[in-house]
Symmetry: C2
Subunit: 460 residues, 2 copies
């Protein structure tokens, strides 16, 4: 291929992409979609009846728009339910704590009243001796999460959420309470999934409390106060249920088997209405594809929008998609997901065949007026639900959003529609429409033949 001329994008394609940007910036379609999803369906916990209603909503939406095919691709999954929680400080005095169970938390058969053992960080509990926490509730504090545009502080802060329970259980604790993984200072707990260990989940209640509550516990600890808590959680696993991915296709006019895949996830945590996580992604990608569908002709390649099910509980929809489409993944020419809120996009990164970089660069120039910089061309990871297919060699790009405030809202009751700024959402849709249109209209090969892209393991 050294002899091929450099990949280019025709001027009329660039023009059409620029027109799509103008159209998107003047359209309320995206906001209408996320308003409809959050209002008409509400919270949509993976595997719940509400997630089923979200799929029904998705089918109705797809059919009301200009897609050529609308389908639901079911899969089965284990259902974890939050149940009810009581949590309060009981000594040195009675005070309600604002907490919520983490995904995968176990049940307390009866209320647990126990003294608290304070750990300054996840590292301090890592060395706890087996049995030394018998009859106690462990509390893992931690530093306030670093805020950044990229969400860089999340991984470190999230360690205690992921594996804290394994140490607490080894110590024999009756329950684990952690400082929420979030960058806000509001009285909201942040939920999120724990990691299983050799397919085992926590058997004790594992609860996140808000940052102000954790601050309060820290201050009491620093005063030398002994603390006790009451914890009672009915969270737990409730057997196997059905979930599914909703798929919208715009069938390519020329190469219908070649697929440019975009999407977001349809499930949300159940505390808020999942507006920024990930109603926004559903709206951004659906609206971008719909604006392309309203052009006089379909692009050459098929554009597929996947509204993934059950992302929050372990990318279950994404894994099901990769399995169910295993025999056509080599026809997935490019994939990307929107799952980092509704903030302004500031960077385009990619991980495609080097010879296709001029096309990505051309896309970068088209969307630059939106305030988007061209970032690295060797950055793997197209979004969490893209990981399973990226691991099978599907090339990826990503439009990085400003995540400065994302972890203020992430997985809290406060993830509601009012947090989305329509103009920022429209900027996202404009960028996606231009990107996806050009990727579907070109016939350049994005796939790297030799190097498999590394998948990122970011959880969003």
């Amino acid at each position: 291929s050294d002899t091929n001329p450099p990949a280019t994008v025709d001027a009329d394609v660039i023009d059409t992409a620029s027109q799509l940007i103008d159209t998107a910036l003047n359209s309320s379609l995206g906001f209408d979609i996320v308003e409809s999803l959050t209002t008409e369906v509400g919270p949509r916990l993976a595997g719940s009846e509400a997630e089923q209603r979200a799929r029904d909503w998705g089918v109705k939406l797809g059919e009301s728009l200009s897609f050529d095919r609308v389908s639901v691709e079911p899969f089965s999954m284990p259902f974890w339910d939050r149940g009810e929680l009581q949590i309060a400080l009981t000594s040195p005095y009675q005070q309600a704590l604002y907490g919520t169970a983490l995904g995968g938390s176990g049940t307390s058969d009866q209320p647990i009243d126990a003294p608290v053992v304070y750990f300054r960080s996840i590292h301090d509990i890592e060395t706890v001796e087996a049995g030394s926490l018998k009859g106690k509730i462990a509390f893992i504090d931690g530093e306030f999460m670093v805020k950044s545009q990229t969400g860089a502080g999340y991984g470190e802060a999230n360690h205690k959420r992921r594996v804290g329970w394994q140490h607490a259980e080894r110590g024999g604790a009756q329950a684990l309470v952690i400082r929420s993984v979030g960058s806000d200072s509001h009285r909201f707990p942040h939920t999120g999934m724990m990691s299983s260990k050799e397919d085992q989940w926590a058997t004790i209640p594992v609860i996140a409390v808000s940052n102000p509550d954790a601050d309060h516990l820290r201050r009491l600890h620093e005063l030398g106060q002994t603390m006790s808590m009451r914890v009672h959680s009915t969270a737990g696993w409730k057997g196997s249920v059905s979930s599914g991915n909703v798929v919208f296709d715009l069938v390519g006019r020329d190469k219908p088997d070649e697929i440019v895949l975009i999407g977001g996830h349809l499930d949300s945590w159940d505390l808020g209405t999942g507006a920024v996580d990930d109603g926004a992604g559903v709206a951004i990608t659906t609206a971008a594809a719909e604006l392309i569908a309203r052009l006089p002709h379909r692009p050459r390649r098929t554009i597929r929008v996947v509204l993934f099910g059950a992302e929050e509980v372990g990318l279950l929809g994404a894994r099901a998609y990769a399995e169910q489409h295993a025999d056509e993944l080599d026809q997935h020419v490019l994939a990307t997901e929107s799952d980092f809120g509704a903030g302004t996009i500031w960077q385009l990164v990619s991980n495609v065949n080097a010879e296709a970089n001029p096309v990505i660069d051309a896309i970068g120039r088209v969307i630059q007026p939106l305030g988007i910089a061209r970032g690295g061309s060797d950055v793997p990871g197209g979004g969490p639900d893209i990981i399973p297919m990226a691991m099978q060699g599907v090339p990826t790009v990503r439009l990085n959003q400003n995540g400065m405030d994302y972890f203020d809202l992430h997985h809290t009751p406060d993830d509601t529609l009012d947090k989305i700024k329509p103009a920022e959402l429209a900027q996202n849709i404009a960028a996606y429409a231009a990107l996806v249109y050009i990727a579907a209209e070109t016939d350049v090969e994005f796939r790297t033949k030799k190097d498999e892209p590394e998948a990122s393991t970011a959880d969003e």
Copy 2:
């Protein structure tokens, strides 16, 4: 008195006041006090065991500082308890709502499951016909509260909280739900007291839901959806209990019977830890007096700090104070309260004898470097707990704080210590210290002999 020379303040008094400002700006005493109160006592509902612990804390604090007299002045009061609340949307689908009972709310004997009747504003329910809401839950929406430095949007927004229940009960509703009175867009309900009507309180549950929840209900209503809710509240009145005011005195070296009174309220709503409402006021006024107490000599007049009990439920501590001190109110030469959070002070207003205005003006010049403008000299109202004594003729001044964000946090779970900026708190203490010192060192008469000042009815 037309022949008296204009009131002035001696240069050395001005100097000392300026030194107090410097000291206050470099002191952490105020923050230490509010940290201690919110951490060691926590929430302190009027009439509760926690409010008793707050009085004990107050006595200990006063005794640990430089005051000459520390006392508790008890009074009895009816106790309203929040109890437990369940509130959820049950149709068109199941969704938790973030709500809380309003002060004075009645109890539901059993869970209420009923259709919702939507009222766009308090004005729309004012004309409801008797009996027309039988078997229903009334929901009063309303406009988003106007944000302002002065808190000007509160009165109008608060109308539905105050009297909404009277219309709902006339209509025969089983419960009333209202949009929270607050200027934030977070998933926190704002509590606060209702108004009684001819000494009667609501017999039905009256619940405030967060602004995002109210937005959600509005959107569903506008979609033409019929809504139902489940409401179950065990809130109610629990008989007579004891409360009290905590009083700290710095006895005047020259005119010990003349009292310059400052203070805040010791009780808080029970959802947060009452940091901005009104731990801040307790800290600001106590710290200001303490810094004056550390001067080589006591000022001429007595400085009294009153930590009022049971403010939130109807100025009960303030009324008790005015009654218990009725025979010495004419010796209260000036009074003011800090009860509008911990934001920067931007204005000094007053309502004193016109011949004493030069002294207030001089105070204004001393605190001007703190960014404080001299406002009106005929502005009544020294703060809510000052109302009962102002109605008996006690002259008032007020240091107006920036309330732009006050009603974001006001009466929510989010009123916690992290919301106080130490530098802003210190600016408050500096201004109070200078004001109170000069008022106590001068012998000018602030009292207006003929005109009784009008009391404002602001609830803070």
